[in-house]
Symmetry: D2
Subunit: 349 residues, 4 copies
């Protein structure tokens, strides 16, 4: 039972097969092959408008480059205090921008609190040099703790961004899981709701290595080829990323995988809520389940082959773990089976 | 006849198969899986000493991180004026270091001229602040124009580096081709000759995406995990790189591929030297052949399906292209066949 | 009545005269003149140990370079949420480090809360890459809101720093005011209490432009000449800074000025506490007085020639300004006279 | 006889007096005082158009910020191989830009060779990512070796810049000396000849510390306040710089001082050309005289109290120093007297 993270899984068979299918022959490097161009068009199709797509090696790179696109001297990017951007990227956004600042925002259930965002942005006067200038807000969908922004929530954040002249970025490391959970269209959940840039993650959802930065206004992408190349993020054999995306985006495979993962997580959540040995930390909305468990029980689970991650309780968490308790995270993926859930259910019954 | 670059080829079948073989199951991410650790040990075995190995997305990233490891404030890295580092990386080394300088060195046949290197390094007085401080010399093996440093050449460069307290980096984008051409051991061509850091490229030699930075003194690698993560270069599903390296390094496959490429290039060179329509720009030593050809003939070749790259003549080139002539580059790879060479020979006969 | 900031004042007559005294003749530039060397020795004398002193143009530069000295990849510097470093330097510390992060710490009365500091530092596990690595804590003495750390407070912060292997920096933009208020020796308030680096500000206390970064362990200063030069902070006619420091540090002038300013602030505080139209926001401890005042009264003060600064209430402030009230800051300097205080007293009586 | 550099001199009496005159009273900091604003207007008057003026601490900062204003990702700034920017600023331009590149251009007598500039700029194809993108050309007036660009020369450089879409910066560390030597107007020698940005140096010409970056198109200056503040280059007591400029620019004092220095250098050159013990390295055109002298004679001069700088012979120098000879630089300033020249003449007669 491997629930530690969705990045412990390998590659979805259809994606692996497609990679093999494209393994021979000659093709132009650096994103100029016919397959590369086809996939770029495919993104525009999926998003129902012309978009600029840039493959990169990691979600960290996608996020950090997104912040960089909008950075200015003394730039301040704002994100939730639990965002991957600020909590898990070893300073990449500050580094890629050459010294931009990340400002963390509190907020319950992993979501930016719009009242607080408004207050923070008002704090930067237009003419004040000393405080720096806000440039971009980043929200994570699904959030770091497996919750969701409804589309109206995103629109509310974006309205505040517009008012203050800052851009809106979405960290979509689990973008497909959010789409599947909300049953929304990619366009509705992004640019139609005011999102300017999207880190489009596919690695966690069944690829080997397929991450892209999507800019909804191609005009803003003019410097991106230089930004990406300079960051050592331009693959020569770019088609190996395109081959993954080709299969991923074909016939809705990506949403199918995401729905599978979300469903397994739903089942896991039900198991937890029915168990006397664990309690749900909060209601999961996609493919991550957070639970509070007695330390001894946690150890017993580990001893019985359940892999999960220990998690630092969010500062805004209601009903925090008690003295002998810990918070754990369990994540599902394409590779999670019914059997995994059943075995787990048996253990915690 | 695809001779434009070795990065136009796909993946060698054995490497592709191994990637497929590792496509399912669960494994720890970020380089912590058993396979990842095995490959790290394999590198130490190959280099006959403990080495620190860091997978990255691109050769540009490996080079730029290598320069960063040795950088200091006001740092100056020195490399040949045709080095990839300075000519083809869009400023990545300066960017990764946060403002280090690259200083270019002239030199015939793509090699650093040691007398000039000595002169340049002497120019930086120990106590002079204003000029900055030299930190690392980078040489490319095989060079950008398909020539080689003999091991004694490398030792000569490294002796100068030692004397001036600067480190020595080798850009080994075509490392295997050099090894095969010199019939040298990896240890002899690197740390035993005084090399401190190596960009170990495998992508051009039959992988999809397999690049590593190798530091021969693991003590110098302490900050590397942070440097790599911060640069967005830490793959989550790291095993997909390891799986490539596993096959690549098994039973000498990497050297076999390199020898194949070098042999095809040798045949190509012979064809060129026997043709009246082209002349060798200089004697090739690995898998790249540079030729001077009349513009009209070049067009005819293109029309007949020969793909090659136009090349800016090196400033030190003897016997430069005449008015109606151009310099072209032809590169061979695992995917170059006898048939390709024969067809080409027929065209230029 | 100019109370907006101590940087509205000009130059203290004795300092101005000394600058004039050194205005002719020839001297080595870049800190190599006899006067420059003499002042460097004077700093060692004052601090009762060998120190490395680097003049820079601004307090922002001193702070940002201090953070840079201790930075490592993925580095995180911690400071109070109101610190100049994070609130008023337009991202200079992140910029100078090339992407280090500043992490803000809450704490009442402008001081770092040691329990919170301990908690934050424990959060960075030694082996965790993703969160980055803490490098330095910066405290401000006197704080941004005119309060003080007692020497024991500083020692407590430094003990936590030592335990976690991070350095301790003191932003001493108003260093002399703190010394005068605590009647402490420079050594006791800094390195003897565990401070590694000090931004030694003299501009606010009667100089034109005299700021220095002092490193108590000269070994840590080896790269500083390069760091400073590269940052465009190495004055050619360095003696014009030295000339200011010569007068400043002679016969205790600096402490005399600071005591004068502190005394005037004490009187101002008494006037405020006796007035019915203002109330002290908190007890001032050096040369800054914060008061809460009705907006209309504030306007009346302005109309009567009182200059002061509007201030955003600290998040930890007890007894925050009410609806029609604002928080104001009044700062005294060498140029504040008894008469200024009397006139102000008459206005608010 | 202090000829080592014009930065060995102190402050011109009129400038020092004006600084004293402004030493008391209260004034808004950070460039917002009436005097600061007056001086900003004065610059516009002198340049016969609206200009944006930013005081900074050093010429290095002015140059590095100028490059930064025009930088883009993968940006390449081009300058003469002897330019201060590349030879004497410890990497500041690369650092301030966060990784821009400096590309050096050869050229006789310290001047950029326009044919070579043209060739270099053509080398960067518009669509080529890998080489980076040229952003700005910097020329030094007077050059590092005391020669001049005629106004037509500047216009020729700027025409090439325009054609390739790159900006033109002038490093005017000795701007007044060039103006005096050419008897040109500030407007004619800068923006009317196509210069976009000017490092306006006054420190070497009689000030303590008075350097400014002048942008001729104020629209390009929008981010400059942030760039300057973030670089720790925003003086709080800005009026102490303004006070220097007030006197400097009043009644043509700056040009008077420059003419004085140039005249003394002319006399020095004549002495050299008439001496049998030295020869002019090239014809001086402003306030710097370069001479070739026998090592023993050089030592004798030193022993007799002549201070001068040893100089590395430019690579393009005709008639290089012989085996026992060295190249020396002698610089004059407002503080150089007739008597200095006479004493020197007596020594070398």
């Amino acid at each position: 039972m491997y629930f530690t993270s969705d990045n412990w899984a390998g590659v979805h068979p259809k994606i692996g097969e497609n990679l093999s299918r494209h393994s021979d022959g000659f093709a132009k490097p650096y994103g100029a092959s016919p397959l590369d161009r086809e996939i770029q068009d495919r993104f525009s199709e999926i998003f129902e408008r012309d978009v600029a797509v840039f493959f990169v090696a990691t979600g960290t790179a996608a996020n950090a480059l997104a912040v960089t696109v909008y950075d200015r001297p003394g730039g301040v990017a704002l994100c939730h205090e639990e965002a991957h951007l600020i909590a898990d990227e070893c300073g990449a956004p500050e580094y890629f921008t050459g010294g931009g600042r990340l400002h963390s925002l509190p907020g319950p259930l992993g979501r930016i609190d719009t009242a607080d965002l408004e207050r923070q942005l008002q704090w930067f006067p237009n003419d004040a040099l000393h405080a720096g200038q806000p440039t971009v807000v980043s929200l994570t969908q699904t959030t770091e703790i497996g919750t969701l922004y409804q589309i109206a929530d995103i629109a509310r954040v974006s309205a505040i961004c517009r008012e203050h002249g800052v851009a809106l970025h979405m960290d979509g490391a689990r973008f497909a899981n959010a789409l599947a959970a909300l049953d929304a269209s990619p366009a509705d959940m992004t640019w139609r709701a005011g999102v300017d840039a999207l880190s489009f993650g596919a690695t966690k959802n069944g690829c080997w290595c397929a991450e892209a930065l999507v800019l909804f206004d191609p005009d803003q992408a003019r410097q991106m080829p230089f930004l990406r190349k300079r960051a050592g993020q331009l693959f020569s054999k770019s088609r190996f990323v395109s081959a993954q995306f080709e299969a991923y985006l074909k016939d809705g495979l990506w949403l199918e995988i995401a729905a599978h993962s979300n469903d397994r997580a739903g089942e896991l959540a039900q198991v937890v809520s029915q168990s006397k040995r664990l309690r749900l930390a909060w209601q999961p909305q996609a493919n991550e389940v957070f639970a509070v468990v007695d330390s001894k029980d946690a150890q017993e689970l580990r001893d019985n082959g359940v892999h999960f991650a220990d998690w630092v309780p969010p500062s805004s968490m209601d009903n925090k773990p008690g003295n002998q308790e810990i918070l754990i995270r369990m994540v599902t993926s394409f590779a999670t089976t019914d059997d995994d859930i059943k075995k787990f259910a048996a253990l915690v019954a």
